[in-house]
Symmetry: D3
Subunit: 69 residues, 6 copies
């Protein structure tokens, strides 16, 4: 499946924190660059997300903001 979301960052799952409805997943893109996702607990289970797994962090470009110092 090919998705219209412009941003698909390849990485490795570093950490998974399971909540009651949601799960927090931290993905290392390259050393020092991490992306954190909140997805539903059942999605995390469906995707069998565990530390070390190769994944993509997907973000729709309309959900990205830009900041400057």
């Amino acid at each position: 499946m090919q998705v219209s979301a412009r941003n698909a960052l390849k990485g490795t799952v570093k950490n998974v924190v399971v909540g009651s409805v949601n799960t927090e997943v931290t993905v290392e893109i390259v050393p020092g660059v991490e992306v954190t996702a909140i997805i539903t607990k059942s999605s995390a289970e469906n995707l069998k997300l565990t530390e070390g797994k190769q994944v993509y962090a997907i973000v729709k470009s309309s959900d990205v903001m830009i900041a400057v110092d």
Copy 2:
């Protein structure tokens, strides 16, 4: 200003495409890793975004999805 968004990826503006209401901004995080943002035209103007500028791509973690091959 410190923002609650968990993801602030430091990078360099690579490309700016100006539309009628929105502007598309591509940020290189590291060579080979780019993030594209759609922000309002006036925000892009306020931040004086031009190629080569150091910026952060900011994403709220609830807007990140995870995909696997």
Copy 3:
């Protein structure tokens, strides 16, 4: 690719309106049920979206609201 987004509604492209930066895509899920997406113009081009094409409308569950009459 398998995505964590819980909602993947199968349908057929009914209409495509191309803007300067964004493109509006209307997908018929079943007769009488349509979903409209705003995606970047370049995503729409990459996916070669034209009327009649079989697609999925993907929505992260944290982006769905509930309303009652």
Copy 4:
């Protein structure tokens, strides 16, 4: 109240999972087509969401992605 969100899919609540802050609500649009929403626990309580209730799943079109096989 009439909302600018382009997508208002009429359906029936199939399942409600209550968490500590958020609640997951599954809505059947037509048999075989379901949409899952994560809303705050207090919103779910305000709307008195229970199985069988007629509701609308509301999605802003900028939150819809398109995928192809």
Copy 5:
């Protein structure tokens, strides 16, 4: 219609900028407090948004971030 989105800020339309696909709408909540929305051009037309009109700016709470100085 009652929506699960927790934030419905009552205000007055101050400005409407029409683009090719999207429209930017600025709403004054109270003097000095404004909220800007990007909605589809056709939604803005359906709602007949013009300066001075009484409206609500609706935001899902999962789309709100918090920042501190």
Copy 6:
């Protein structure tokens, strides 16, 4: 840091509800106008959010909808 998000509403934290993964934060903008945010528990901890703290509620304009009565 200056963020592209068009909406930065200054206010005071009125209430904080801590969940297992997420935290709900209610901010009073002016008396009678409140905004509720769902952010990650760790973000809320990083920002040391407690009642009475001066904060900004930040919303990207593409996440704002408009409704009329």
